[in-house]
């Protein structure tokens, strides 16, 4: 593989990883939404560079759809929700920001092990693509668990989904176009419905603090 191409792939993978750690360590929600957009851009560009085939119209269309949705539409929707609900910061719940980053580093260790083990059975790609993919999946889950704001849980879901998209685009070469389009549409619909649900939560509780959602238990 061309050295420049490898370097570009590494830069994009590095961007995805750093943006994920930034999501864990940032309390400002508007910054988080923009960082998520950057992550979406990096993840959206990667399939074109890691593909062993030429970039066909199909790959190009899916890539473009992903980039538009994940780096523009979702961040815009999230920023809009933050503005409408007047929520600015997420102080984190039981572990705090420092603890979340520390857990993120542990996730990186776990992702390195899983990514190396599973990656050994899959098509070869440079720069530990599978490690980054699993890191995003684990960190997305972590964000959902350790953050207080419901809007941040949506960002966690999108990070997780970015990891799965990266994994799928490298591990499975031949996915039918209509299916990829369907998956993209489903993710869009899920985020849209989550946005609507966030408004309902805010209307009911005058906040989107997920720790308030504790009436039902047992």
């Amino acid at each position: 593989m061309d050295a420049h191409l490898t370097a570009t792939i590494n830069i994009l993978l590095g961007t995805a990883m750093v943006s994920t750690l930034a999501l864990l360590g940032t309390s400002r929600l508007r910054t988080c939404a923009r960082v998520l957009g950057l992550q979406g851009l990096a993840i959206g560009l990667l399939p074109a560079l890691t593909s062993t085939e030429h970039v066909t119209l199909r790959i190009g269309a899916v890539m473009l759809g992903n980039i538009i949705l994940k780096s523009l539409v979702f961040p815009w929707l999230l920023l809009r929700v933050c503005r409408k609900l007047s929520v600015r910061r997420d102080p984190g719940s039981f572990v705090g920001m420092g603890g979340a980053v520390l857990l993120g580093v542990l996730c990186l260790g776990a992702a390195a092990w899983v990514g190396t083990t599973v990656g050994a059975q899959l098509p070869t790609h440079p720069g530990g693509v599978y490690i980054v993919a699993f890191f995003l999946v684990l960190t997305g889950l972590l964000l959902i668990i350790v953050r207080r704001r419901a809007v941040m849980q949506v960002m966690g879901y999108l990070t997780l989904e970015n990891g799965i998209y990266l994994f799928g685009s490298c591990a499975v070469i031949d996915v039918p176009f209509l299916l990829e389009f369907g998956v993209l549409l489903d993710v869009f619909a899920a985020v849209f419905v989550m946005g609507a649900a966030l408004r309902q939560i805010h209307a009911e509780f005058s906040s989107d603090d997920a720790t308030q959602l504790s009436e039902l238990s047992g």
């Binding site: 591990a171 299916l179 369907g182 489903d186 039902l216």
Partner: protein, 490 residues
């Protein structure tokens, strides 16, 4: 009409009918419209079963993305039955809500649109030969049914909706990871074939065993979350307790079965590369579900939450069945039908009684037999069926399962299973006796039941007794045809 055309109509018509509901001007008309559409769907599902009966499979599209076989058709009929029964019950349930001012035309239109879109999405799950398309169908069910969970409004309902949305979306995302791993385990598949179930079945001996194992773990956890298998069941009691009763009946009666259906589709594939791994995981998760349900049912105070934990138990029982080979799969499929009938009736009864008592608190629901001469006895009858009392059909399916455990000398499994269902039997029966007998609170007035509710309750309860004493030959053959597809030798 050919099977392919029939399925395409069944996929498209509910969505079109949901949109048509927006042109209707009263909740009663919309609810009747939904009942008519689901009734037609149920009849169409029977027609499809008759057409497919005797064929190993019927392809529905030239690219092989859609197909039906005995396993899917059995579930399609159960889907039709659940939706039709729940839609009929919704007529009475929402009539009360309209009278109380909790259900207006706007809500009715949205209910019809999401309810019927859920029907199409679940059918898509069942007719997909492309496992990615199956995933799209299952994810769509989460998106379109989230509104139904929170439609009553209020803090608790919105909390339940949010938990349902987040937990199930994450679960289904994990299932997608499993689907991709499964496709990656077949590196030499021709263009567009890596995700076809039929292709994976043909090539199952040549799949990468490590990747297939990893795939099945993701699939079992992912779809298992939506199916309500412990320990991923946390959304289920909240969503079931807060959703309107017809929605709870549909969730328990079919949606969870659809998620389990997705897991079971992969069992014969993983079995070829890693014998015993898939069934072992299913039995483990199933047994854990029975035990978790046993602990939580004891301490429940809310009748709908108790029924939700009953669902965790029964999904666990069905999962155990699928993990025990063809005889176990037979019991599991029969149990699927029986559980659908019993649980739907139980939710109908608790839902209507909840409206009469103004609460689902089991401390308040007393003397239900006197308060409602139909749904009081129906609640007790359905609870007896759910805990496995003879002659109800659940007794037979559970007995079949126990017999398989004995035949396979799975003694530890048998003892643990019997302890779990024994605890549930005692606890649920005590809760049930407390609700049904005694004197109703003074502020609860006995009501004259609607003839329709009598008919619906007797139909469901009658079917449970009928199937408990005699299994019709066509049903036996339909179940055997389904077992032939997914029942692997232990």
């Amino acid at each position: 009409m050919s099977s392919a055309n029939l399925v395409f109509v069944m996929l498209a018509a509910p969505i079109a009918a949901g949109i048509a509901g927006f042109a209707m001007k009263s909740p009663a008309l919309i609810l009747r419209w939904v009942a008519v559409v689901t009734g037609a769907f149920f009849l169409a599902s029977i027609a499809l079963a008759v057409q497919v009966f005797g064929f190993p499979e019927v392809l529905l599209s030239t690219d092989r993305a859609l197909r039906v076989d005995g396993f899917s058709v059995f579930h399609i009929v159960v889907l039709g039955l659940t939706y039709f029964g729940s839609s009929l019950f919704a007529l009475a349930y929402f009539r009360h809500e309209v009278a109380e001012g909790h259900f207006d035309t706007t809500m009715a239109r949205r209910y019809a649109a999401f309810w019927l879109a859920g029907l199409s999405a679940m059918l898509l799950v069942l007719v997909s030969n492309n496992l990615g398309l199956m995933w799209v169908g299952m994810e769509t069910t989460t998106i379109v049914t989230a509104y139904l969970v929170g439609m009553h409004g209020g803090g608790a309902a919105i909390e339940a909706m949010w938990k349902y949305l987040i937990v199930c979306s994450v679960g289904i995302a994990f299932a997608f990871m499993g689907t991709l791993l499964c496709a990656a385990s077949a590196p030499h598949a021709a263009a567009g074939e890596a995700l076809l179930w039929t292709h994976l079945m043909d090539e199952r001996a040549h799949l990468n065993p490590q990747l297939m194992k990893a795939a099945f773990v993701f699939l079992a956890v992912g779809y298992g979350t939506k199916a309500g298998l412990a320990p991923m069941h946390t959304w289920l009691p909240d969503a079931h307790s807060q959703a309107p009763a017809p929605v709870s009946a549909m969730f328990s009666g079919f949606m969870l079965n659809a998620a389990l259906y997705c897991v079971v589709r992969y069992v014969p594939i993983v079995e070829a590369t890693s014998p015993g791994f898939g069934p072992g995981l299913l039995v483990g998760l199933g047994l854990l579900s029975v035990l978790v349900a046993a602990v939580f049912i004891i301490f429940q105070r809310d009748a709908k939450r108790m029924l939700a934990y009953h669902t965790v138990e029964h999904i666990g029982i069905i999962a155990i069945g699928y993990g025990l080979g063809p005889a176990g799969a037979f019991a599991a499929l029969f149990h699927t039908l029986n559980h659908t009938l019993a649980k739907a009736l139980a939710f109908f009864s608790v839902g209507r009684l909840g409206q009469i008592y103004g609460s689902h608190d089991m401390g308040r629901i007393r003397g239900a037999i006197d308060a409602h001469p139909v749904y009081g006895p129906a609640l007790f009858g359905s609870l007896l069926a759910l805990v496995g009392v003879a002659p109800f059909a659940i007794f037979v399916s559970e007995f079949l399962l126990v017999r398989v455990m004995v035949q396979q000398a799975r003694w530890l499994l048998l003892v643990t299973f019997l302890v779990g269902v024994g605890v549930i039997f005692t606890a649920a029966l005590l809760h049930g006796i407390g609700m049904v007998f005694g004197k109703p609170p003074e502020d609860v007035a006995a009501i004259e039941p609607h003839p329709g509710s009598k008919l619906l309750s007797f139909a469901f309860l009658g079917a449970l007794v009928f199937l408990g004493v005699w299994m019709p030959a066509p049903l036996r053959q339909a179940i055997e045809s389904a077992v032939h597809i997914v029942g692997i030798q232990p």
